[in-house]
Symmetry: none
Subunit: 408 residues, 2 copies
């Protein structure tokens, strides 16, 4: 009886036939005996995360796979990226993405990225946890010059402008309301107070004085954009009664896990690049089965390499993954392994496409079909047929005997 | 990289297995090596224009294939046929279809088709471009006794009766409003003035006096029916940024092209019958690639022959098409060829059916599948699976790398 799931998602795994590979796709051209052996003992099919003819970004595709339709739960990439910074967002939180920047005394922008400052933890810490007019401002560092800001409190609105003019040499824009509501008025005012206060704190920080002495631009301003209110998100656990964790290198994917209330498991060397520690991530997945019912493992490089048109790189990476995949061949009999992807990325087009991706279900008691290879065209002939992302979780719950009964 | 498309639509191409063909369909029974060779190098599948279990007319099926759902864009066959007469309809235009007819001095109908008069250009011209109460009346000749009338101006309504009683020996009906609006009142009145004036002009025309001398019925009246207001139709170009043309023999299909803002390309001998100039149409399609991004080619006889139950005729016609199809085998590498149909027409039932039709995508970089023959049952095993008409344009745009991204 299946009671645990490892869900292995290779970003941008599906691809197009490539002329110099004799019109094979990278998956078809790669020598991947372990993938093939697993597929041979799986129920196979094809899937489009959002449906036929819809070309998805990775964020909304993952939400769809986990059963969270974008129409209802997607309020922009901001809240997801901010969730990836390790902040548990609550319903009604207003999040903005930001840059540490350099302004002169007239608030004209000298550099939107403060001379591409590399580390902003100390700057974020100096601004974190302020209270203004009953609103709590939470400030977390992102990568390089980036940061996330969360406003938590009553009466907030996302109908406000950006303070970031999105260009150097322009003055900072004050926030203003985009509708006639009191909430938009209030949110603009309190944010204007916050950026003023943040500027006063930042310009006097030791770290900035030191930068100036070194001839570097001081990171004396926090430019904000993309306000998004956190919708009410039922957690993955509340939705499926499955205790879930996320093993990912990329910030966006940690964000998706965190956004859905999954625990994040950090793995050394999980870089989200082609050099990532595959063995470490796969071992962590097996270990996580002790504590979790649902282990989401994300592998990014299949997408990035295809975005670069580097099909040889994609093939080599797949072959390296294949060697590590052996670890999953003899899973305990209560474990289901799902291998699939969020969307195709074409090395020809160097872009996401709406072509479906292969999906396989590997575990005891599954209706294994006649497919003997793991690739886009072989899986088209699988016993599962063609599904959409929204069908994935019901399919998993079905295998686990956990679907509710309709009728009697 | 695919940047141009030829979309070859065979009307009523799908069919049923026929006992005297050993339960083969006409497509299966026909000897069509070029179709088969193209299918062998294509991504194949089945399609229902409107969806499972929906038996479509050709007009709404074509609209669906081009991404114009009937719920939103179909206001009757009238506007489409009138578009096929070469008139660019504007939003708010009221179109009616009409017959030139013969009435006596009491306006009793002697013959609804004026003795099946064959040519009405001169008659239409005599009525064209009248102005009554601020409304411009545009009158264009159709085939044989038929004509189209467009009312252009402010305050028009389609909630009006027909003047055509649809039977001989009945009196002409005056238009009356079908709702209580001022617009319906006004439209009825202005149309009654128009038919009165038209009658006065027609009865004195030389051509009619000549007919009477020859013992023929004079075409002294214009009977009108099927008022339809032109909806706001985004053009095919505005929708897809593809410059499109239409190569068709049948008036309805020219109408569809014109309705969507495609340029009509006339081909000598394109009769919409089994004797049509296939070679001329296919050559015109190749030539049109110089100027157009999307070439819609319509072939009608596959449907008409099946409507007559003439499966031997359908087979012979397909075999004749197959010989000409060779022209498409070596298209430039930037061209996608799509071959499909709007609906099945069963020779057994002599009617359209809701059975899906084969569809194939032929071009460089496409996920060619294992199908080796072009027919209904072979394509059921294609890598594309089953799609609906609404999926066709997204699938084409996907292959062209032109789909917008959802999410980020």
């Amino acid at each position: 009886m299946i009671s645990k799931v490892i869900c292995l998602i290779f970003d941008g795994l599906g691809d197009s036939p490539i002329e110099s590979l004799g019109w094979k796709t990278p998956l078809e051209a790669a020598n991947i005996p372990n993938f093939d052996e697993i597929a041979q003992n799986s129920l196979c099919g094809l899937m489009n995360a959002l449906g036929r003819g819809i070309r998805p970004g990775s964020d909304v595709a993952h939400l769809a796979l986990f059963g969270y339709p974008m129409e209802k739960y997607y309020t922009g990439r901001g809240p997801i990226e901010i969730a990836g910074l390790g902040i548990k967002l609550e319903e009604g939180d207003l999040s903005l993405r930001g840059n540490f920047a350099t302004v002169n005394s007239n608030w004209d922008i000298i550099d939107r990225r403060a001379g591409r400052i590399l580390e902003v933890s100390e700057l974020a810490k100096a601004l974190d946890n302020m209270y203004i007019d009953g609103i709590n401002f939470i400030v977390k560092p992102g990568t390089a010059h980036r940061a996330g800001v969360i406003l938590r409190g009553q009466g907030l609105s996302s109908a406000i402008s950006d303070s970031d003019p999105h260009e150097d040499k322009k003055p900072v824009k004050l926030f203003y309301p985009l509708d006639s509501s009191e909430e938009a008025q209030f949110t603009s005012q309190v944010l204007n107070k916050f950026i003023q206060k943040a500027h006063e704190i930042l310009k006097d920080l030791d770290i900035n004085k030191k930068r100036e002495k070194q001839g570097l631009l001081p990171a004396n301003f926090l430019l904000l954009r993309g306000a998004g209110l956190q919708p009410s998100i039922p957690s993955f656990y509340n939705r499926y009664q499955l205790k879930a964790c996320c093993i990912a290198g990329g910030g966006l994917y940690k964000g998706i896990g965190s956004f859905l209330g999954m625990d994040l498991i950090e793995v050394e060397g999980a870089t989200a690049l082609a050099n990532t520690n595959i063995n470490g991530k796969f071992k962590a997945a097996i270990k996580a089965l002790d504590e979790y019912d649902f282990v989401f493992v994300h592998i990014k490089a299949t997408d990035s390499l295809a975005e670069d048109g580097n099909y040889q790189g994609k093939i080599s990476f797949l072959e390296r993954v294949d060697k590590e995949l052996v670890i999953f061949k003899d899973l305990p009999s209560n474990v289901l392994l799902v291998i699939t992807s969020d969307h195709s990325t074409s090395c020809n087009l160097k872009a996401h496409t709406a072509d479906p991706v292969p999906i396989i279900f590997y575990g005891k008691g599954i209706r294994v079909d006649r497919v003997s290879q793991f690739d886009e065209r072989s899986c088209a002939y699988g016993g599962l047929g063609y599904i959409e992302g929204k069908d994935l979780m019901p399919q998993i719950l079905n295998i686990m005997g956990k679907l509710p009964l309709h009728g009697a």
